[in-house]
């Protein structure tokens, strides 16, 4: 049985994330303990709310460096929604706050011409994913594989590098398509370059 630790950044929609991994037969727990996060097989960084609040929560529990170390050593990590954005260097949403800086890019707001928040299902590669966001990453950064989606203009729906997966959408709320994304990520092994 695979052990999945979900980082508790405050409230998020942790119940939905936990339920999704439980349905996949995982041994799922919620934690903000740095040692647990360092040692666990699979770690999920979920998150809703603002960029600033998310970074404050990570810093309060001393989790920033642990997440950076996991990604550097290619230990499986999944960032969801704000959890993906926190991997970047900064965000227009909360100026003056540094992100984790694993992805050297700034998160920006959707153009004014489109409905925000983007609430709903948008096309991603061969399926549809559920999004709930006002800010986004515009282009796929160097060194990452990814998928784009379109809301007024193109934006990054998903990024992959080694065993790190970052989703702007909510795989836990994206029906059977999202379930497949999660189970593919669970095939990753620490140190293995792709999954």
């Amino acid at each position: 049985m695979k052990e999945v630790q979900i980082i508790d950044t405050g409230i998020a929609n942790i119940a939905s994330v936990k339920a999704a991994f439980d349905r996949l037969g995982c041994n799922t727990a919620i934690t903000n303990n740095a040692d647990v996060i360092r040692q666990s097989e699979y770690v999920v960084l979920p998150g809703v709310g603002s960029f600033g609040a998310g970074m404050r929560a990570l810093n309060r529990f001393g989790l920033g460096q642990v997440i950076v170390d996991r990604i550097t050593s290619n230990a499986p990590l999944l960032g969801i929604c704000l959890g993906m954005q926190l991997l970047c260097s900064s965000s227009e949403e909360t100026r003056g706050v540094n992100g984790l800086g694993i992805i050297d890019a700034e998160i920006t707001r959707f153009p004014n011409s489109v409905r925000t928040p983007q609430h709903g299902w948008n096309r991603v590669s061969d399926g549809y994913a559920y999004f709930s966001n006002t800010y986004r990453l515009s282009t796929i950064p160097d060194g990452w594989d990814g998928e784009l989606s379109f809301h007024g203009e193109s934006f990054v729906a998903m990024l992959r590098r080694g065993t790190t997966l970052a989703c702007q959408f909510h795989p836990e709320l994206s029906g059977d398509w999202g379930k497949n994304i999660l189970s593919e990520w669970l095939q990753c092994r620490e140190g293995v370059s792709t999954c």
């Binding site: 809703v48 609430h119 709903g120 948008n122 809301h151 909510h170 836990e172 029906g175």
Partner: protein, 253 residues
């Protein structure tokens, strides 16, 4: 491109699904978990659950229902009905709701929306507005307490303030149309669309795909319905096929 959502609504009372007309005459319509699972399978893009118990015991039962539905459901779950304060909303989110709808309590205290949004983010906060045509004059007013109390507050102005106070979405129910099967209040939807850029869910009066097409053309980003699904007269997938034939982007099965 972002697709238009079709959203079944489950009214919950004391742990069971119920359905009424103009918020009254409730009759039993089944088990919430069974129905939630069926709706997901049949192509629902999201589920709204409204607790209509209006009692403390009912509210605590509703938390159990939310947990039980969450265990099975892998699409978004939005929960509302009688949400009194920030703690109540946080409890629903912890139990497994992805969004919480606030109605009467926000009319009494708009700051509740602001407080909740600052805690959990606007994406999780829905302003639920029940609107009824004014009696003896033009326009719509906000009604609360299952339509029994007319507040006198202009529904369009209230919707306009939604974004400012921190809501991330509007669930707009027409009290006049609810349960009548005669179509959404498209005049109201058009007025709301003029004054807010927030995603807006149309609710109240749907009896089929044409009503949904009309609501979407009037500006709705999502369409909610209850009885047409409970009575098994159609499914979300069937309706979405018809919406697609009318040129509306939907999530295809």
């Amino acid at each position: 491109m972002l697709t238009t959502r079709v959203i079944p609504c489950l009214d919950i009372k004391n742990g069971r699904v119920v359905k009424g007309i103009r918020f009254a005459n409730l009759r039993d319509a089944g088990d919430p978990v069974e129905q939630a699972v069926r709706y997901e399978r049949e192509g629902a893009d999201e589920l709204v659950m409204l607790d209509v118990s209006a009692t403390i015991e009912g509210a605590s039962t509703a938390l159990d229902v939310v947990s039980a539905v969450r265990e099975q459901l892998s699409i978004p779950l939005s929960v509302g009905g009688g949400v009194r304060d920030t703690q109540h909303a946080l409890n629903l989110l912890k139990a497994g709701a992805d969004k919480v709808g606030i109605n009467s309590a926000a009319v009494r205290n708009p700051n509740l929306i602001t407080e909740l949004a600052s805690e959990v983010g606007s994406q999780c906060v829905v302003l639920s507005i029940d609107a009824a045509s004014r009696i003896g004059s033009d326009g719509w007013e906000v009604v609360t307490h299952a339509g029994t109390f007319r507040t006198g507050i202009d529904a369009v102005e209230w919707a306009q303030s939604a974004e400012v106070i921190g809501a991330g979405e509007i669930l707009l129910t027409s009290f006049d149309q609810d349960g009548t099967r005669s179509g959404y209040d498209t005049a109201l939807l058009r007025e709301i669309r003029k004054i807010t850029s927030l995603p807006t869910i149309a609710s109240g009066g749907a009896d089929g795909a044409q009503h949904m097409v009309d609501a979407i053309r009037a500006g709705a980003d999502a369409v909610l319905a209850a009885s047409i699904f409970h009575d098994q007269r159609t499914t979300p997938n069937e309706l979405k096929l018809k919406l697609a034939q009318s040129g509306i982007e939907v999530r295809k099965p």
